[in-house]
């Protein structure tokens, strides 16, 4: 009996460990399986439907007061776009920079900083929520995206607005490392969706996306594209990057980042 006991105990220990190990290994296999990942991805459609249903098109993100401003607004993601073109624009204080608005528009535009500053402005103090978990409160000033889109005249076919950025975030072998993001027309015409030029009463610094970044206040930080160079109206997203509508969506993150 005593001879049996030890192996039995070892057997139990071994079987518990291998059961635990195979369960964990099984979950890792599922994490790698594209089919299982698309099954899990069904939740994104539920999240999108639930949030759009509950928020409606116009619900506003909360706006705060100057007393709530974060002491430091954390810089994340790209801190300094590489490449000569951006360096040249920066050296000249973005005097030569032009924001191109094209694609499915009747009246393509190329706007300078002075042009943008001459358009109607909106100021909002909002909370920025990063997908990683942290938050910061900042005061943003800029042109509502709707103002620019109305001047460019969207064609009826347009369904998404794509933001092409100056920063190459990853030197991907397939050449899709350039940062970009996209939103649908509901968010594009939301009153708090801004082409932000200023943070906390100062022109945007490089870390926060100079000269212009997007604000989409009801979504997570990665949607708020920095270093926006070109805005393109499109009817579908599959021909851009890896086809999922954004740098991070191309890498497994949700396109609609409301949670």
């Amino acid at each position: 009996m005593s001879r049996l006991l030890l192996p039995r105990r070892q057997l139990l220990k071994l079987s518990m460990a291998s059961l635990g190990g195979s369960l964990l290994g099984g979950c890792d296999q599922l994490s790698k399986s594209p089919d299982f990942q698309s099954l899990l991805g069904l939740a994104e459609a539920l999240n999108y439907g639930a949030q759009r249903g509950l928020e409606g098109d116009r619900a506003l993100a909360r706006e705060y007061t100057a007393a709530d401003l974060s002491a430091v607004f954390k810089v994340n993601g790209s801190q300094m776009p590489e490449g000569e073109e951006y360096a040249r624009l920066l050296a000249n204080n973005f005097i030569d920079w032009r924001l191109r608005i094209d694609g499915l528009v009747g009246n393509p535009l190329a706007l300078s900083l002075a042009d943008l500053e001459a358009l109607p402005q909106r100021t909002q103090i909002t909370r920025h929520d990063c997908v990683e978990g942290w938050s910061a409160i900042g005061k943003w000033q800029g042109v509502p995206l709707s103002v620019v889109l109305e001047r460019a005249g969207l064609l009826p076919k347009a369904r998404f607005i794509v933001f092409h950025c100056a920063d190459m975030f990853e030197h991907a072998a397939d050449g899709t490392g350039q940062y970009y993001e996209s939103i649908d027309l509901i968010d594009a015409f939301h009153p708090q969706t801004l082409l932000a030029l200023r943070l906390n009463d100062m022109p945007l610094d490089v870390g926060h996306g100079a000269p212009l970044r997007l604000r989409v206040e009801r979504q997570l930080g990665y949607k708020h594209a920095k270093y926006v160079m070109r805005i393109e109206a499109v009817d579908k997203l599959d021909h851009i990057g890896r086809g999922k509508g954004g740098f991070w969506p191309d890498r497994g993150y949700e396109w609609y980042a409301g949670i």
Binding site: G20, L24, C27, D28, S31, Q37, L39, L40, G41, L42, A43, E44, L46, N47, Q51, L54, E55, G56, A59, L60, A61, R62, Y64, D68, S70, A71, V72, F73, K74, R127, D129, C130, V131, E132, G133, W134, S135, A136, I137, E217, R218, Q219, L220, W248, R251, G252, Y253, E254, G258, I259
Partner: protein
């Protein structure tokens, strides 16, 4: 006498004389209770492990609306720091209390046995490797399943009387003396036998109800409060918890309470007769030994 359990429920639960030393089987858990119990168990495990994966992206907690390490002092933090002579040590810090946690938190061995800086060990996160995007996919899918399952359980338990009959304690049961008495019984590992074993004891009722009615809904509410979209739809969510970062902090510590609950629950199952308890949550049948003193 062997009671197959096929008799009508009320007949079995009614007090009727039994012979001493006799074993009967009662029908303890309805089908819906058993099915939702196991779905809930799978959901909690996946949500915990994928939640740790998500937390690993920024393993610090704050109080209030906003919070980042550059701007605000974390109330809780997991990390790794270099001590003298270049030795690296994992740590967890709550307020001003810091403890070394090398091997588990902050610094742990990977599958190849090398120490890596990671808030949680590879065996505790889903996926085991660092992958916030996939962690979120697991988390949201199982969050929907968890919420649907909880809703099914709650509506069924109201409808079939499970709450009223089995879970809501009587006024007598929640008196301090009764709870204290029951706590002493638990500590002495004295578990109810015979007729008493037909029902949950007062501490069980209070604990199960707290988990079902407070902790689980709190997880959902604090989870939703972390969503900028939901905060636009329901701004009062943020007010209830005193800010998005507070909600995140509450989400984490409530998850810790749930882990504590599951651990104590498992220990209690093992101590009070694991086969009988497990069977009752699989087939519904629970065996009771009628003792001499009950006759």
């Amino acid at each position: 006498m062997y009671d197959s359990g096929k008799f009508p429920r009320k007949f079995l639960l009614g007090v009727r004389p039994q012979k001493a030393g006799e074993e009967i089987k009662i029908y303890r858990h309805a089908l819906v209770t058993r099915v939702t119990h196991w779905i809930n168990f799978v959901c909690l495990v996946v949500l915990l492990m994928s939640g740790l994966q998500i937390f690993m992206a920024h393993p610090a907690l704050y109080w209030g609306e906003a919070g980042s390490e550059e701007s605000d002092g974390p109330v809780f933090e997991i990390g790794a720091k270099t001590r003298h002579l270049g030795a690296v040590e994992g740590f967890a810090r709550l307020g001003s209390q810091e403890i070394g946690t090398t091997g588990v938190l902050g610094l742990s061995r990977n599958a190849s046995g090398y120490y890596i800086e990671r808030a949680f060990p590879t065996w505790a996160t889903l996926p085991s490797w660092r992958d916030l995007a996939r962690g979120r996919r697991w988390h949201f899918f199982f969050a929907w399943l968890f919420a649907a399952n909880l809703l099914l359980y709650l509506s069924a338990s109201f409808a079939n009387g499970h709450f009223r009959r089995d879970l809501v304690p009587s006024l007598k049961e929640v008196k301090p003396r009764s709870l204290l008495n029951d706590a002493v019984n638990h500590l002495k590992l004295k578990f109810p036998r015979g007729e008493e074993a037909r029902h949950y004891n007062p501490i069980q009722k209070v604990t199960y109800l707290s988990v079902i009615a407070i902790l689980l809904p709190l997880m959902i509410a604090t989870g939703l409060t972390m969503s900028p979209g939901m905060d636009a739809a329901f701004p009062w969510l943020v007010d209830i918890f005193g800010g998005r970062q507070s909600a995140r902090t509450i989400h984490f510590f409530t998850a810790c309470l749930l882990v504590l609950f599951v651990m104590v629950h498992l220990v209690m199952v093992i101590l009070s007769g694991p086969l009988n308890e497990l069977r009752s949550m699989i087939t519904g049948r629970f065996r009771i030994l009628i003792e001499n003193r009950n006759v």
